[in-house]
């Protein structure tokens, strides 16, 4: 039919084989009752609508849309869309939600009883138009047709039930004889003559029956075919829907499937065919299937900072697999200048844990460590080599060389280690209450073997020093005690004139009667050469310093201060780099001078001091001398102290003088 072909043309996609159009040819045109004119026009409209409406079903492409169009056509074709109730009842997840009109494949629709009855009651054209249009295909229409057919033949249908009621024997008495084609109802012969049927065509009843039977059979056949084809259609539709919806998921699996595809066919080269196969590997593998493999190499950890002592380190490692391990073997040797990583281990330790504290090591030394894991199958490969370092030995404070004043201390020490360390730490606590745990102050990161530490005046401190390297800190050194009362210094033997002897405690200078032969001294020497003098090592901290010198009344001496680079070939006070008080005793007379740059004021002192107090005040640029016993001020220099100065002492005749340290400034001194 033209209509169908029209619609065929409209659908231009490749059709699956089974998916063919359900043509109107299903029904022979001759058989076709004039019930389709409406459908035809309707369908034409549908097709046009579908053609026009190409925006529908976006996303899935033309196939989807075409499918949908076809479905719609069929819907329209069979009048499915008339029955809106059909759509409500239908639930099928497989249908893609693109606006395809739903259709019920096989549903036995329960029709409105009223309508049923109405249908049944209909006669004539009304009934025709309604029912014979094959409006509801499948069940409803089918039933209806059969009912119709049956009605033609004989009997009444039940008014209440959808069933056929076979007329009973007693009805035969009133059975009809002939069939009125026009009215399509069996009538009695005599009824022909009545007005109702006068003009109507009449045929014998058995003929009508036969033709009705034929009709029924034909229709049934067609309907059965329809059913089958619709079933097929529905199947295909379902398949398509499934395929479309699962396309993405299927693609994954398909992709995987494609990837894992292996070559099944390996063509063997002819020459390989002769080769004898070695099965030992296979045997080994076969054997190892039943036994565990040797472990994989452990990973040795870098040294945890501050975890070492002077004689031990704690080595740790890890195993990053599930291998069975029965024990670990840790090997090590001291790091030497020869190429690392190739030499044999000097020591080996076997442990069960993944750590080991290795003892009996040398302080401040680097050791190379590596570890292997062992089980029944054998050893693992060796781990990387890690370098661990022992902590250093403690330093040794040079207690004799400690210098201090009221506000600071200068400590120096010996490293205590042959090799260099990274830095030193000075720790100090106040000594007042040694039992109580006081605050420990630490000065860290000291690069050299000396340090100046700020302190509070009038206290006592205990000081320790530690050495530090990669492995951690050493233990504390032996302590040293510092008192921040007055200033502490020692006479520097490196400066003293050869005729002077300095005592062990560094506080007494003695000039003996006997003149020791002067040794050869170069000009750059640090020793005094002309003045029989010695310099003290005062802490290089500004502020004020006070010390006392004990002298003999009849002693010729000079006491004072000088810059560190004062010319040692000259007398104290003879240049501008030194200041001193000079006493000479001659002819029973005491003579006192206060010398700087060779000049002195004219000063008479009636009572010769036995103990001289010397106040060095950087802040006020003053150097004062006192008679300690009398609390008498003797003299004050005003001196420009642009650099640090050191106490100086000189003996111009045999005798001795003694330095007293650690004395806090007497009150009378403070006035100056």
């Amino acid at each position: 039919m033209e209509e169908e072909s029209g619609e065929e043309l409209g659908l231009d996609r490749s059709t699956p084989k089974d998916f063919h159009f359900y043509h109107m040819d299903l029904y022979d045109s001759e058989d076709r009752l004039h019930l389709f004119p409406e459908e035809n026009t309707r369908m034409r409209k549908v097709v046009q609508a579908e053609m026009a409406n190409e925006s529908r079903g976006a996303g899935d492409g033309k196939a989807q849309r075409d499918l949908q169009e076809e479905v719609d056509e069929l819907v329209h074709l069979y009048g499915l869309e008339d029955d809106h109730e059909l759509g409500d009842e239908f639930v099928d997840e497989n249908i893609p939600r693109t606006g395809v009109s739903e259709y019920p494949p096989y549903m036995m629709k329960r029709r409105d009883p009223a309508r049923e009855q109405r249908d049944w009651r209909l006669s004539g054209e009304a009934a025709e138009a309604e029912d014979l249009g094959f409006g509801g295909w499948g069940s409803a229409g089918q039933c209806q047709d059969l009912r119709e057919a049956y009605r033609y033949t004989h009997g009444r249908a039940s008014e209440e039930y959808e069933c056929y009621v076979i007329p009973e024997e007693e009805d035969e008495e009133e059975a009809a004889d002939v069939f009125c084609v026009t009215c399509k109802t069996p009538i009695r012969a005599f009824q022909k003559v009545f007005d109702e049927h006068k003009e109507h065509e009449v045929i014998p009843l058995n003929e009508a029956l036969e033709s009705a039977k034929d009709e029924i059979h034909k229709n049934m056949y067609k309907l059965e075919k329809q059913i089958i084809e619709m079933e097929n259609f529905a199947n295909h539709l379902e398949e398509v829907f499934i395929t479309v919806e699962d396309a993405v998921a299927m693609a994954d699996r398909l992709g995987k499937f494609l990837k894992t595809k292996t070559d099944v066919e390996i063509s063997a080269q002819p020459e390989f065919e002769d080769q004898t196969l070695d099965f030992s590997d296979v045997e080994q593998l076969m054997g190892s299937i039943n036994t565990i493999p040797a472990p994989s190499a452990p990973v040795i950890n870098p040294q945890v900072p501050n975890s070492a002592t002077g004689s031990s380190v704690r080595v740790c490692w890890s195993l990053y697999s599930d291998d069975t391990v029965e024990s670990y073997q840790l090997s090590y040797r001291p790091v030497q200048d020869s190429s690392p990583g190739t030499d044999q281990a000097e020591f080996t330790v076997t442990v069960k844990e993944t750590y080991c504290s290795v003892t009996n090591l040398v302080p401040n030394t680097q050791y190379e460590f590596w570890v292997t894991a062992h089980n029944r199958a054998g050893p693992s490969p060796s781990s990387e080599r890690a370098v661990y370092m022992t902590a250093p030995s403690p330093p040794i404070i040079k207690t004799k060389e400690i210098r201090s004043c009221e506000e600071a201390v200068l400590i120096c020490w010996e490293s205590g280690n042959l090799n260099p360390v990274d830095s030193y730490t000075v720790e100090l606590t106040q000594a007042e209450s040694p039992e109580a745990s006081g605050v420990t102050e630490s000065v860290v990161g000291i690069p050299t073997c000396e340090s100046v530490v700020q302190l509070q005046p009038g206290r006592s401190y205990i000081i320790y020093v530690r050495a530090l390297n990669m492995g951690g800190p050493s233990v504390r050194s032996e302590p040293a005690t510092v008192h921040t009362i007055g200033s502490y210094f020692r006479l520097n033997k490196d400066t003293c004139h050869p005729w002077l002897t300095i005592s062990e405690d560094g506080l007494t200078a003695v000039r003996s009667e006997r003149r020791t032969p002067a040794r050869e001294l170069s000009p750059s020497d640090t020793h005094f050469t002309r003045c029989v003098a010695v310099m003290g090592n005062l802490i290089p901290v500004r502020g004020h310093h006070y010390w006392e010198v004990e002298v003999d009344e009849h002693l010729d001496y000079r006491v004072g201060v000088a810059f560190a680079d004062v010319r040692k070939q000259e007398d104290l006070g003879a240049n501008c780099l030194s200041w001193c008080m000079r006493h000479t005793f001659a002819s029973s007379r005491h003579k006192y001078e206060f010398l700087h740059n060779r000049t002195t004021p004219d000063i008479r002192i009636t009572v010769p001091p036995k103990k001289i107090g010397i106040l060095l005040d950087y802040e006020h640029s003053k150097l004062s001398f006192f008679n300690v016993d009398l609390s008498q001020h003797l003299y004050t220099f005003s001196c420009q102290l642009h650099e640090f100065v050191h106490p100086c002492f000189s003996l111009e005749k045999p005798g001795c003088l003694k330095v007293h340290n650690g004395i806090s400034m007497p009150k009378h001194v403070t006035f100056y």
């Binding site: 004219d602 000063i603 008479r604 002192i605 009636t606 009572v607 008679n627 009398l630 008498q632 001020h633």
Partner: protein, 262 residues
């Protein structure tokens, strides 16, 4: 006794005042200068007595010396009395500049017509301190004395005759040995008569020889080029020698310049 303020001037944060009063010892009106440092506003301060030399009044020191800054910094109350009684109308008191008016020599005269008024020693060591202690914020335990020339002599003898009374004594170009110098001989013979034993009681050098030895701290500055030194009026060496022998601590500074004429 009532003090009459004559003047008051702000100076280095403190106050320089001059008072007048009726002196009991001297039987006349006497003026004296007092410097009150800023610290005196809040507490008692040490007292430093200054004795001027020949021809001076209470004004010389406060005008010429420039001591105020130091006094202010150190918180010292400085008292400067006159050098002799004034307006007594004694015959001959104005005849010479080195005897009588302005030349009291810090002695208590025993001879007429001087003995009624010329009692500077008692005035300086007794009456004036009592007056100061009662009327000004001074610490009675902390007192020192210094002076120049005749005043230096006065400071020395006051300290030596009163062991422990003064914490320190300093002198600028003092007359150290008056019994041996022309000034001293003239003054002592006029005020004390001819008995030289009475003179020694007011001679520092002699007093040192019999000093009982209480702690003393003496500082003497002397200008090298001082004419009076060269004229033998001052005689510090005698004093030093005596102190050396007696082990009285003295620091004697012979300065380059001359400290003369205050």
């Amino acid at each position: 006794m009532a003090l009459k303020q004559i003047s008051s001037n702000k100076c280095f944060g403190g106050l320089q005042k001059v008072f007048e009063h009726d002196s009991v010892e001297l039987n006349c009106k006497m003026k004296f200068a007092v410097y009150l440092p800023p610290k005196a506003e809040t507490g008692k301060c040490p007292a430093l007595y200054w004795l001027s030399g020949l021809t001076c009044t209470e004004q010389n020191f406060i005008s010429k010396s420039g001591y105020h800054q130091s006094a202010s910094e150190h918180g010292l109350v400085v008292i400067a009395p006159d050098t002799s009684p004034r307006g007594c109308n004694i015959k001959g008191e104005d005849e010479s500049w080195d005897f009588g008016t302005g030349a009291g020599f810090y002695v208590d005269a025993t001879e007429d017509p001087w003995k009624t008024n010329y009692r500077m020693y008692s005035y300086v060591t007794e009456e004036l301190p009592q007056l100061i202690n009662a009327n000004f914020p001074v610490d009675p335990q902390r007192m020192s004395i210094f002076g120049h020339s005749m005043g230096g002599h006065g400071a020395l003898i006051c300290a030596l005759k009163n062991p422990g009374k003064y914490k320190s004594v300093s002198a600028f170009a003092p007359i150290c040995n008056p019994v041996l110098c022309p000034w001293g001989k003239k003054a002592f013979s006029g005020y004390l008569g001819t008995d030289q034993s009475k003179w020694k009681a007011y001679d520092a050098t002699h007093l040192v020889k019999s000093y009982p030895g209480s702690q003393l701290d003496i500082l003497i500055d002397q200008g090298k080029d001082d004419q009076f030194l060269l004229d033998g009026q001052l005689l510090p060496d005698n004093f030093i020698a005596a102190c050396t022998e007696k082990k009285i601590p003295v620091v004697f500074r012979l300065q380059e310049a001359s400290i003369r004429k205050l």
